[in-house]
């Protein structure tokens, strides 16, 4: 896009040129005519130079060099025009004049600018063909130019003639190069480079005509040429200023460009032929001229041949790559023509199917080795999917790609020996330049092993499921047994115990006066033992209940539970010098009955083991917290334990202290452990003998929505 300043410059030039064009027909004085012509030329050329220079100033680094050359070219052109105007006003018109030098610099600059662009955008492989193509076209076009100019060489001095011929030659060269480059680069169709090419084209045509007229001194009315000249200058200016050259990979334009490029040697040969014909028909031509033209034509022919050879080599390289891929691929690669007859059958396909390529190519369609029933079944499937009737046959394989859909399916191949192979087949359409279907390509991977592995996994899963069910049933049975056991413990063990205790006491009461110290001591021991056993039974019952019942989590609060527990135990603890430090905690999502049991066991534990501490402190609080889990702790400054024994702490019936020191059943912490585990959390203990113990455990946080 042109900037605002550039638009002002452009429109000013257009207005000035248009003004001149309007005035010219009504002016009859030759001097005035010359003046007006010079005004619109100068307006157009200086505008072009300014536009290009402004774009060059604002350009990104990758375009800077190209635009730099363009700016240099248009700049020289503007200078030439100004010099020419000065010459005309001074009535000093020698030939060659200084302005001719500057004029000639323009096509050279454009040639270099486009060359730079070419080197930026095109890879080395293509570079060679482009140079060849451009050279061929340039020589051919120039041979034509020479054929037109050389017969007129006696009309001027040698220098004059050289300069005259330099104009069309340089412009034609720049034009040919631009054309070939653009075709090779396949850029998106953009106004800018079309304008540049058109500008170069009109310039070269006008210069050619002018110069021929100048040589023959046969000036005609130049108004049309002058107008074209100015418009061409503006085209070049706008085109260069908005220069955009983007490569695209559009398949359509790819084909068009390729087609034109393939034609370029033919065009070159035709141009050379025309030149030769011109040589022959113009009888006045001397042998040197004839020789020059014929040499050019010969060069074009040779270069065209070289170009084709280079291309054939490139194709051979691609072909050898293709052959290597086809013969070494671990896939069956099978190509067919439009009707399905096999045209390529690679070695892996031979290996996989057992058929040789001789049996296949040109003789049968892939239906030969497809499972017939599967093809029939898929025909129905695809007919439904694509909403059109597809008959069982080769058409089933290509139905999807013909409808423009991707086609990758598992198929069953039947090998020559009748063995079946599972393959994953991807089908693609082969097309010609104009996009018509020329055939199909199928790439098939043997997936039999994967299929087998899949089946094995499924079998294993089924087995596993069966075993899990088996084990679960066994576990359920043993769980039921455990339940019965717990129940019978509660009934059958407690009852006799009650009997022992009751009758021992009754015995004591009824015969107490007769008892000696030993006898009453024995009775006391019996009572104490039954009490102890009762506690053990209750502990076992608690633990079995934790294990066998399902948990019913609700939002509950440990701080509240702990405060309740302390209040309940107030009378029992009134003689203890015990300090509680209980923090507020957020709600946890847990079974409230089990949380009660957990609090009871942990606090009873802390109270018990701090019993011999003079200033006992029990602390409860938050250790850590994330968005899902709450890590809590209960800490006492009591007896503590050796960290070496920490593993035994949570196992049932394991005691770290002698029973004489601290009473207990050894089940409480095991129960706590199971409660925490049931809620998905963990528990650990830290301790030091004589310093105290700390129990750290996690429970799931109750979310605010629960």
């Amino acid at each position: 896009m042109l900037s605002r300043v550039q638009r002002y410059v452009f429109w000013s030039a257009v207005v000035i040129a248009a003004g001149c064009f309007l005035l010219l027909p009504s002016v009859h004085d030759v001097e005035w005519k010359k003046f007006l012509d010079n005004v619109h030329w100068m307006a157009a050329s200086t505008a072009a130079a300014t536009l290009t220079y402004l774009s060059f100033r604002a350009a990104q680094s990758d375009q800077r060099r190209t635009l730099g050359w363009f700016a240099f070219g248009t700049g020289c052109y503007a200078i030439a025009q100004i010099l020419w105007a000065i010459q005309v006003s001074a009535n000093w018109t020698p030939f060659p004049a200084p302005s001719d030098l500057f004029y000639l610099l323009m096509p050279i600059s454009y040639l270099l600018g486009i060359w730079t662009e070419l080197k930026n955008k095109i890879n080395r492989g293509e570079y060679r063909t482009i140079i060849l193509d451009a050279t061929i076209l340039t020589i051919a076009a120039n041979a034509l130019t020479l054929a037109m100019y050389l017969p007129r060489r006696d009309l001027a001095t040698e220098l004059q003639f050289l300069i005259t011929i330099a104009y069309p030659v340089l412009f034609v060269t720049a034009l040919s190069f631009s054309l070939i480059t653009i075709l090779h680069a396949r850029p998106s169709l953009d106004r800018s480079w079309i304008l540049v090419i058109a500008g170069l084209f009109f310039n070269s045509v006008v210069w050619m005509i002018w110069n021929i007229q100048a040589l023959e001194h046969s000036y005609t009315d130049g108004t049309l040429y002058n107008t074209i000249f100015t418009i061409a200058a503006l085209m070049l200016g706008v085109g260069s200023a908005t220069w955009k050259f983007e490569m695209i990979r559009s398949t359509h334009r790819f084909h068009v460009s390729d087609l034109l490029l393939r034609l370029s040697p033919i065009v070159a040969v035709i141009m050379s032929s025309v030149s030769i014909v011109a040589c022959i028909t113009i009888s006045t031509m001397d042998s040197i001229v004839r020789l020059a033209i014929e040499l050019s034509a010969l060069l074009v022919l040779i270069l065209s041949i070289v170009r084709q050879t280079v291309l054939v080599n490139e194709v051979a390289k691609l072909t050898s790559l293709e052959t290597a891929i086809l013969s070494n691929a671990g896939f069956a690669i099978i190509a067919t023509d439009k009707k399905g007859v096999i045209t390529a059958f690679n070695p892996y396909a031979e290996y996989m199917l057992g058929f040789s390529s001789e049996e296949m190519i040109g003789k049968v369609t892939p239906e030969r080795f497809h499972d017939r029933n599967e093809v029939i079944q898929r025909a129905t499937e695809f007919s439904e999917k694509l909403a059109k009737t597809i008959l069982p046959g080769f058409g089933v394989l290509t139905a999807e790609v013909e409808a423009g859909l991707p086609s990758v399916h598992e198929w069953t191949y039947v090998c020559k020996d009748g063995r079946k192979v599972q393959v994953l087949l991807a089908v693609t359409r082969l097309t010609n330049v104009s996009g018509e279907t020329t055939g199909f390509l199928g790439v098939a991977a043997d997936v039999s092993k994967q299929k087998q592995a899949e089946r094995q996994i499924m079998q294993l899963n089924a087995d596993l499921e069966y075993r899990v069910r088996d084990r679960t049933a066994a576990l359920e049975l043993s769980n039921a047994e455990l339940e019965t056991f717990a129940y019978s413990v509660s009934h059958d063990l407690r009852s006799p115990l009650r009997g022992i205790d009751g009758f021992a006491r009754l015995l004591g009461e009824t015969i107490s006066p007769q008892l000696n110290i030993n006898q009453s001591h024995y009775l006391t021991r019996i009572t104490a033992a039954t009490k102890k056993m009762g506690e053990i039974i209750d502990g076992l019952l608690d633990m079995s209940r934790v294990t066998r019942t399902a948990i019913h989590p609700v939002a509950c609060n440990l701080t509240t539970e702990i405060r309740h527990w302390i209040a309940d135990q107030a009378t029992r603890l009134q003689n203890r010098n015990l300090q509680w430090r209980i923090d507020e905690t957020p709600n946890v999502f847990a079974d409230s009955r089990l949380i009660g049991l957990l609090v009871d066991n942990l606090l009873a534990n802390a109270v018990k083991y701090s019993g011999q501490t003079t200033e006992a402190i029990i602390t409860f609080g938050i250790q850590d917290q994330d968005d899902r889990w709450l890590t809590l702790f209960v800490e006492d400054n009591g007896a503590g334990f050796h960290m070496a024994e920490v593993d035994r702490l949570f196992k049932p019936f394991q005691r770290l202290h002698r029973i004489e020191e601290y009473e207990g059943t050894g089940i409480g912490l095991a129960t706590v452990h199971r409660i925490v585990q049931l809620h998905g959390g963990w528990i650990k203990a830290e301790g030091e003998p004589g310093k105290g113990a700390k129990f750290i455990f996690t429970l799931p946080l109750a979310s605010t929505t629960r």
């Binding site: 509660s490 009934h491 009852s495 006799p496 115990l497 009997g499 205790d501 009751g502 009490k531």
Partner: protein, 138 residues
């Protein structure tokens, strides 16, 4: 104080004797009728005269022949005993037992303590409440 007999449904002879002694120690002097299996207990209830009636029934759950829950349902179905307070006194504190007992119509549920002194205390409380303070219709 309600002086009608107490029906004790219990199969364990130790517990029968200890319960008797427990009530005695708590100064409960009502006649105690003992039925040691569920079937006999239901038969007995069907024979009970509405006038003589029973002051309360102490029921163990773990009984031979007919379970404690069935006995309880039998008691509640019988017009003569439908309003008699039934105190389930058993060794289990399983929540399911507690819930099932209340569902079948129990008035109270007490777990038998192992220690005899506590057992005695429990018997005393039961007698005081259900025989002295509680009022039943009819």
């Amino acid at each position: 104080m309600n002086n009608s007999p107490i029906l004790l449904i219990e199969d364990n002879p130790d517990d029968i004797e200890l319960t008797r002694i427990g009530f005695l120690h708590a100064n409960i002097s009502n006649e105690i009728v003992v039925m040691s299996d569920g079937h006999a207990a239901i038969e007995f209830c069907n024979r009970v005269d509405r006038q003589t009636s029973l002051s309360m029934i102490v029921l163990d759950l773990n009984l031979p022949r007919v379970s404690g829950f069935d006995v309880l349902r039998g008691i509640r179905k019988n017009a003569a005993t439908q309003f008699v307070p039934v105190i389930v006194m058993t060794t289990s504190d399983d929540e399911r037992d507690v819930a099932a007992s209340y569902a079948a119509g129990a008035n109270a549920y007490v777990r038998k303590p192992i220690a005899f002194d506590e057992f005695q205390k429990a018997a005393g409380h039961i007698g005081l409440f259900w025989l002295n303070l509680n009022i039943t219709p009819g």
